[in-house]
Amino acid sequence: MKKEYLKLEKIEGPLIVLSGIVDAAYGEVINIKVGNEETRSGKIIKIEGDKVIAQVFEGTAGISTDNASVSFTGEPLSIPLSKEILGRTFNGVGQPIDGAYQVISKDRENINGRPINPVARRYPKNFIQTGFSSIDALMTLIRGQKLPIFSGNGMAHKELAAQLVKQAKIKGATADNFAVVFGAMGVRHDDADFFRRSFETAGVLDHVVMYINTADDPIIERISAPRCALTAAEYLAFKNNMHVVVVLTDMTSYAEALREISSAREEVPSRKGYPGYLYSDLSTIYERAGMLKSCEGSITLIPILTMPNDDITHPIPDLTGFITEGQVVLNRELNQKGVYPPIDILPSLSRLMKDGIGAEYTREDHADLQSQIYASYSKVQDIRSLAQIIGEDDLSDIDRLYLDFGRELEGKFIAQGKNENRSITETLDLGWHILSILPVTELDRMKSELIEKYYDYSRER
């Protein structure tokens, strides 16, 4: 017989406290009947003797200490999964919000997952062509990588992410085994619609699963939304051998929700009020990306976060950068200049690219070209600050060539159209064309035979 508890001891923010409970399990799901009609669910987050603290997914509005009855399910939060989830839309706790019925399946998975054994992982090696020159050449995305986009409010990260998903060419992926899992945490309705529309125009909507928690939905569901999304992704990738791209937006809202709950739990805060376990918590999301030796599928994770005040040292981008395998950083200045995508290449990085490029995957000159463009562009920055002081006219001839190189790199290489999909060969050739503004003697990162083969001697300098 299922016991029901009729009296709540305390309600505070999203949390409720019950007392006199026996046999409650840490992390189990509870059902809360409010009044006669409504049922909400919650999760136990702390047990203290016979006292239980639970967070309520749909929020505590309308609950009083004596109008609710609570029953325990004995199970952790899990979602039913089958391939039928493709094309569907769910909320942050995995309930359908597209008007259709819940998926029926005997496969139910705990949304918290379990850590992948490092021994079972397969090291990601295959290059994904995104069609963006800056990303493909300089911070190559690898199948099974987690590569976040660090953006700021008002910058073009949505467009970038949507175009990336549309254009991504994954090795081994066909129309049948490719899926996109989209998790939205605390986003505006129009942002969620934007993604849906762009998946629709790309004709991939049948391959997309969405877990949407909008800005006005309960914050507790914001904590579970990315976990539902990744549980679905793990199911598709590791049980059905699919190549899955997961887009999570916006991780900043997620972390803020975590902070809100932490403060309601009266925990000791660390940097900027975020809980001390923010790093561990974020890692249980990001580390679910990857590949396994035991199957063909892959999870490539692209989380998007908005840096508060464009500050890359803020705890959220900072801790993210320590977990993810690189980052794509967007830049306000480039964005204002109208450069799309406004990718700031110097702080951007892909840690896995070293093993996924070169003759075997892209082209022999890729690594050297990447290193040379970085070194030269970093010099452009120094010369620009010098030019601001002494004026462009007083610069040496070489320095002026560097400025030309910088302008062209931003204007023609980084910038591209919203429907422009460049192949890796086009991208690398373009890179050489622009690099050839500089005289050969400046190319100190390049092997001589590559210069012989690719340098554009016909360019005017």
Partner: protein, 589 residues
């Protein structure tokens, strides 16, 4: 005493409180609940004890039983550790994979070394031999290069009463029986247990005098690491901490490497696992995996086990040190370990100090780094443990508590710099703010084994780089062209040091590891260039003319063009440098 039982009363993440636990001991290992989760008692107040649990506590209920094991959190030490990969509490990950496939579940119990495997044991004692603590009683060829020596425990002394003949034995077989003076007997097997939080004893500490050769130019030539030393390696994300740690693990001339992946990325450990078995040690021509122990507690694995992983690693290192080996530990990253301390401390509701870290952070860091050192082992051999701890300061800010406190307890500090990393100057070790407290201690060694003027040369180069830094401030305001020629030469030479010497390509076959001899000769070439060019400048030859000489490009490309085994080419280059500038001077006379 496994019959004492506590009762779970409260659960908060990895922190569990139990009633009826007054007779448990602090730091005792316990198993919690029906799933037998592994935990450790961290504090006791009256009948209530606080336990940190090394596995996921989801599903645990109040009222479940906490069982005592009677022993503190320990590791099993014996053959089979090298080439293996463990989690933070020494459970072999490969075995876990056999049991549960791709993911790590909770409740798999306490595993450690393979107890079934039979090893070829050579018993080195005979009946009647008198043995002292630390004496060898048997040896096992653990890998091609590591001879595993079984040592008499530190508190045992006696006469051999029984000794098995050499042959195949498993870890729990009794090899030798010792009779102590009080006629008590002690059975010695092929493994021993040791509590991780307790340093293993040694005879005495020895002064540091040998360098740990890493093949990395900025380290060996500029900021050397000593065998038995402690090094902090801080850097924000993207500055190449992990690549640097991997390079050190690959090329250091230690006998054994213990690599602790503490709260870092899963794929990085996979990378090590895939790459190291393929890499060949330049000194022994054997795979690097034959000297490496890996501990992987990635960021998403339970946080309490991350806290333990550092201790597990250092205890294993001490065990091999006691056999007389030079061991180097790479801990990547100690910040994640400190964060684990903070997280658990928060759940214990302790009073936080700086940035939420517990007040005992500095003492814990000190305890860890003090387990390094050059020592005389119980059996009188010289051995060492070197600790290289990566630090991940939030936002790259070196004034945060973990970096600050680490600085207090390490003697070497290799600061990774974001600006260098952005310019893809790798390794991005800042050549001005880094320091090594070992230069003086190693001076004799360098003089005898490299060259008498090596340290002098080093000093000269650092001074040039400092001057370059100052000049660059001026250049940023007025441009390079207005500098007088001698100062422009400093810039040119510094550029040469930075690009031709300090930058080192970890992915380049020839450049990844460079012998000290080549490092010295490279510096010599740069110095030669500077002195010769300076003579020209003093004669009034403009720097623009000097810059046109092709030897400059040759010096810059030494690292790629001249292999480690063809150093005579460098002597030719030196002659060419002298000749080039002598010819130049002739032209202007």
């Amino acid at each position: 005493m496994t019959n004492i039982q506590g009762i779970v009363s409260s659960i908060n993440g990895p922190v569990v409180k139990g009633l009826n636990m007054g007779s448990f001991k602090v730091h005792e290992m316990v198993t919690v609940g029906k799933q037998k989760l592994i935990g450790e008692v961290v504090s006791i107040e009256g009948e209530i004890a606080t336990v940190q649990v090394y596995e996921e506590t989801e599903g645990l209920k109040a009222g479940e039983i906490i069982y005592s094991t009677g022993t503190p959190l320990s590791v099993t030490l014996g053959p089979g550790m090298i080439g293996n990969i463990f989690d933070g509490i020494q459970r072999p990950l490969e075995k876990i994979q056999d049991m549960s496939k791709d993911f790590i579940p909770e409740g798999i119990g306490l595993l450690s070394l393979d107890m079934e495997k039979a090893w070829d044991v050579t018993v080195t004692v005979n009946v009647g031999d008198k043995l002292n603590p630390g004496d060898v009683y048997a040896t096992i060829q653990e890998t091609h290069r590591i001879l595993h020596k079984m040592l008499v425990p530190y508190n045992v002394k006696g006469t051999v009463k029984k000794a098995q003949p050499s042959g195949k034995y498993t870890l729990n077989d009794i090899i030798v029986v010792l009779e102590k003076d009080n006629t008590e007997t002690v059975e010695l097997t092929l493994c021993t247990k040791w509590p991780v939080r307790k340093p293993r004893p040694m005879k005495e500490r020895l002064p540091i005098y040998r360098p740990l050769i890493t093949g990395q130019r900025v380290i060996d030539s500029f900021y050397p690491i000593a065998k038995g030393g402690t090094i902090g390696l801080p850097g924000g994300f993207g500055t190449g901490k992990t690549v640097t740690q991997h390079q050190l693990a690959k090329w250091s001339d230690a006998d054994i490497i213990v690599y602790i992946g503490c709260g870092e990325r899963g794929n990085e450990m996979t990378d090590v696992l895939e790459e190291f078995p393929k890499l060949i040690d330049p000194r022994t021509n054997r795979p690097l995996m034959e000297r490496t122990v890996l501990i992987a507690n990635t960021s998403n694995m339970p946080v309490a086990a991350r806290e333990a992983s550092i201790y597990t690693g250092i205890t294993m290192a001490e065990y091999y040190r006691d056999m007389g080996y030079d061991v180097a530990i790479m801990a990547d990253s100690t910040s994640r370990w400190a964060e684990a301390l903070r997280e658990i401390s928060g759940r214990l509701e302790e009073m936080p100090a700086e940035e939420g870290y517990p007040a005992y952070l500095p003492s814990r860091l000190a305890e860890f780094y003090e387990r390094a050192g050059c020592v005389k082992t119980l059996n009188g051999q010289e051995a060492s443990i070197t600790i290289i701890g990566a630090v991940s300061p939030p936002g790259g800010d070196f004034s945060e508590p973990v970096t600050e406190n680490t600085k207090r307890f390490v003697s070497g500090f290799l600061a990774l710099d974001k600006k260098l990393a952005y310019a893809r100057h790798y390794p991005a070790i800042n050549y001005l703010t880094s320091y090594s407290g070992y230069v003086d201690m190693l001076a004799d060694w360098y003089e005898q084994n490299v060259a008498s003027d090596m340290l002098e040369l080093r000093h000269k180069m650092i001074v040039l780089l400092q001057e370059d830094e100052k000049l660059n401030e001026i250049v940023q305001l007025v441009g390079e062209d207005v500098l007088p020629n001698d100062q422009a030469l400093v810039l040119e030479t510094a550029r040469m040091i930075k690009k031709g010497f300090l930058q080192q390509n970890a992915l380049h076959a020839e450049d990844s590891y460079v012998t000290l001899e080549k490092q010295y000769k490279m510096l010599k070439c740069i110095d030669n260039f500077y002195e010769e060019a300076l003579k020209c400048v003093k004669m009034g030859i403009p720097i623009s003319v000097i810059r046109k000489e092709s030897v400059i490009q040759d010096i810059m490309k030494i690292k790629y063009d001249i292999p480690n085994d063809k150093l005579e080419l460098l002597d030719d280059l030196n002659e060419r440098i002298v000749k080039t500038f002598a010819d130049l001077r002739l032209k202007y006379e």
